[in-house]
């Protein structure tokens, strides 16, 4: 087994546990924003897409990379945007209402 694989596996397992502990604590109230936020975070694959597209190794890899850049960046922008929009709607009864 390559050593890169093992170090990635360590990171994956630890991050999985961290994720499990954190997500368990998210109130069910916020499960929809949770999904859209993790989606936006997951869109970090855009960095891999930029590298593939920008290295310009073959025509095919560049085209595939550019499609991936557009698809993941739309998730990043849209995901953060809609998550914040949803969270702004969550208000307590005590807050003064805006006119």
């Amino acid at each position: 087994m390559p050593s890169d694989f093992l170090s990635n596996l360590y990171v994956f397992i630890l991050a999985g546990f961290v994720g499990f502990e954190l997500i368990k604590r998210v109130s069910p109230l916020l499960h929809t924003p949770l999904m859209s936020l993790t989606n936006a975070l997951d869109a970090i694959v855009v960095i891999a897409a930029i590298i593939i597209a920008g290295r310009h190794e073959t025509r095919l890899s560049t085209i595939l990379g550019l499609i991936a850049v557009a698809a993941s960046f739309s998730n990043m922008v849209g995901g953060f945007f809609i998550t914040d929009r949803m969270l702004r709607m969550f208000k307590t009864g005590k807050q003064p209402k805006k006119p």
Binding site: M1, P2, F5, N8, V11, F12, A15, G16, G19, L22, I23, V26, S27, P28, L29, L30, H31, T32, P33, M35, L37, T38, N39, L41, D42, I44, V45, V46, I50, I51, I52, A53, G54, R55, L60, S61, L64, G65, L66, I67, A68, V69, A71, S72, F73, S74, M76, V77, G78, G79, F81, I82, T83, R85, M86, L87, F90, T92, G93, K97
Partner: protein, 464 residues
């Protein structure tokens, strides 16, 4: 700047981004800190993208910038959809995420072919299979949620065998590629077979199971990104993918528990199909109905009211009228709370967002278990557009298809009122004995119109 130093700076930026990602989810746990979570997530994403764009390996920028602009042009409108459309937007974003993971994996294969190790080929194969099936599966799910495709499960004889053979085919092709990574003919066939499996996976699943399916696809999309991190040896992708994957996984488990179903049952069970047998014989039982005026009188006389909303409320666009009802009753000193079943709506937490959008304070939105301990002391339970999640047969009738599913025990309240169009059984086609109880009053009509009538009655008596 020399390339080694540049690479170190980029890696440092990725480490900071990784820490911020974890903080982002940590702060999302409560509504008071959640927006801060979004902010650090945005900072992390911006940092990682800027660091990547400054990578000296990049030789062209023009098309990358154009693609980023296209991405933003697609993403912003998708971020502005109505709250009822959030489930299909989410399914579509799973599709986009999986698409980009698959595209990058495919590009890696063609760039590396000739000097790929068998191990590396195995990673790419698995990554591309999961990415591809998640892409088509999510597109189908989005189509069902948008009601472009039929909501009812589409089933045929021998379906599970066909679907599983297709998956086995994709995996076998991946194994063949591991044996000989340079067999460039097999690779595109593997991609096509995996895409086909995604279609077969989601097509037979009915609309009622969408909260589980959407969570499961979320989990697949996350894991395909994590696998891509393995392929590219990128820790930030591994972490982001693991967080997203475990989030989707936990949500799928919660959704399955809330419906008392197993994963296999959701994936292969085709729920909402064949169970109307016992209902027909009991059509003759009598129900009591009431007018808006009577309903308003009962609600006004109550101390504690529990409203149980279902997706039918959102379909009827009644949430703003429900908010008016909440205001009118609260003004009279009635304690009004909302009982939220975990599968209310079409994705996890959907009902909370729909009610929050209608300006109902989130401290009034009560989880099922907390609500259930309070229902015996509740005067009136008002059910709007919900059906199966209130069905007492789930507790008592072992022959019921929903037997064992946790429900909101609205029948424990002193009076039950159900707003419903007619006596037709609900989405899953299961009869609800609740409607025939002596304490139950049926309020026949459109949810929005009927709630509006009650509000009018309440304000009318107020002005006397």
């Amino acid at each position: 700047m020399n390339p080694a130093l540049a690479q170190q700076l980029i890696d440092s930026a990725y480490i900071v981004a990784t820490v911020f990602f974890i903080l982002s989810i940590k702060w999302l746990s409560s509504p008071t800190t959640a927006r801060r979570g979004v902010l650090v997530g945005e900072i992390a994403a911006a940092l990682a993208v800027i660091a990547t764009l400054s990578n000296p390996e990049l030789t062209q920028y023009k098309w990358i910038i154009i693609s980023l602009i296209i991405g933003a042009a697609v993403g912003i409108p998708l971020g502005m959809v109505q709250m009822t459309a959030v489930p299909q937007r989410t399914a579509l974003s799973h599709a986009f995420g999986a698409l980009s993971a698959a595209m990058i994996g495919i590009a890696e294969y063609y760039v590396g072919v000739g000097h790929l190790t068998r191990f590396g080929m195995g990673e790419i194969g698995l990554e591309v299979i999961i990415g591809s099936l998640t892409f088509t599966g999510s597109v189908i799910a989005a189509g069902k949620l948008q009601e472009i495709l039929p909501q009812r499960p589409i089933v045929y004889k021998g379906q599970n065998i066909v679907s599983l053979s297709v998956l086995a085919g994709a995996l076998l092709l991946a194994v063949a590629l591991v044996v000989n990574p340079s067999n460039t003919i097999l690779f595109p066939i593997m991609v096509v077979v995996a895409l086909l499996f995604g279609v077969l996976l989601v097509t037979p699943i009915g609309g009622a199971d969408m909260p589980t399916v959407i969570s499961l696809l979320n989990s697949y999309a996350g894991f395909s990104a994590a696998l891509l991190g393995f392929v590219l040896n990128s820790k930030v992708l591994v972490v982001a993918g693991a967080l997203d994957g475990s989030s989707g996984f936990i949500l799928s488990v919660i959704m399955c528990k809330a419906m008392n179903r197993s994963f296999t049952n959701v994936m292969f069970g085709a729920f909402g199909q064949v169970q109307t047998s016992s209902a027909a014989a009991e059509e003759t039982r009598t129900v009591r109905s009431a007018s808006a005026e009577e309903a308003a009188g009962i609600l006004a006389a109550a101390n504690k009211v529990a409203i149980v909303p279902g997706y039918g409320m959102a379909v009827a666009q009644a949430q703003h009228k429900v908010r008016e009802l909440y205001d009118a009753l609260t003004k009279r000193g009635v304690d009004v709370r909302f009982g939220i079943h975990p599968v209310a709506g079409r994705m996890p937490g959907h009902m909370n967002v729909l009610l929050a959008e209608a300006d109902i304070p989130y401290d009034r939105l009560i989880e099922m278990d907390d609500m259930n301990s309070d229902l015996p002391q509740t005067d009136v339970a008002l059910i709007i557009g919900a059906n199966d999640v209130t069905n007492p047969a789930a507790r008592s009738d072992t022959s019921s298809p929903i037997y064992g599913m946790p429900i909101l025990d609205v029948d424990k309240a002193r009076t039950v009122m159900v707003i419903k169009r007619s006596m037709n059984p609900g989405f899953a086609g299961i009869d609800n004995p609740l409607y025939y109880f002596d304490k139950t009053l049926m309020l026949f009509g459109d949810a929005k119109g009927f709630v509006g009538d009650i509000v009018r009655e309440l304000s009318g008596t107020n002005s006397h």
